[in-house]
Subunit: 134 residues, 2 copies
Amino acid sequence: MEALFKEKKVRVTAFRRTVYEIFEKYKSAISVNFIESELKDFDRITLYRTLKMFKEKGIIHEITFPYKEKKLALCKEDCKDNTETHNHDHIHFHCNQCKEVYCVDIPNFPHLNLTNYQVDKIEIQAMGTCAKCA
Amino acid sequence: MEALFKEKKVRVTAFRRTVYEIFEKYKSAISVNFIESELKDFDRITLYRTLKMFKEKGIIHEITFPYKEKKLALCKEDCKDNTETHNHDHIHFHCNQCKEVYCVDIPNFPHLNLTNYQVDKIEIQAMGTCAKCA
DNA sequence: TATTAAATGCAATAATGTTGCAATACTAAG
DNA sequence: CTTAGTATTGCAACATTATTGCATTTAATA
């Protein structure tokens, strides 16, 4: 983590370390709500600012499924340092059984060819049953 | 609209008609915020309840892009009447130029084959430049 | 270890969403 | 056409989620 933060020019503080370690601990994507429940004494504002900064620096990324709570997950090494240009070779998978959301690498990421539209980037959100629950 | 509402067992009221017509008027997906700005005299609670019900009945569907405002759009005829099982043969396209979100029909919707994961449904969110802005 | 820029914590406030309930409007039966 | 019964609306109150400004504290480095 120290190396990553240094590379991203982010100061290591006790609070940031704690938040980062929560992300590391859980393999699945987690919600702000969940992070709050994992922290004991904390300032909500500082948490929001920390998460916002993590997103801007490309340390974490947002995952949204319609009708579901927004989730956050650690980025792989290849994320750029702003929120708009995260680079994913993975899809997001929501398990209907355990309700967890996972980042899943896929070998050949689908390409989309739309007449009249110029597609720069696509995001794929999949729903179904995860490896553990299947 | 009368036919649709009747089929969905939804009472036609002045307010619901107004909200529905806003969706019809704009071809792109719209945010709650935008709907509020289109209405003059209205009760916010009634609006939230109307939108919630429209979603549950499969009249409209939610569209989410990470880092972007949640949007809503009319469903095509083939949507089931609950929020979880909307059936889309279209993708969602966010134009980086005009910032609008469109539902775009695509001929052969990609299929995803993940080892260990059972995929029931996928959502595709694309970003780029739309037909008008290109 | 002193300096200084960044991060934190608090207060205040904004935006977004929900619940309960009384008043009102609609629908269908007689 | 009227009435009973049910769904919808509008209000008050409240819950949740998020942001801003500012004084204080902390971390990096010279």
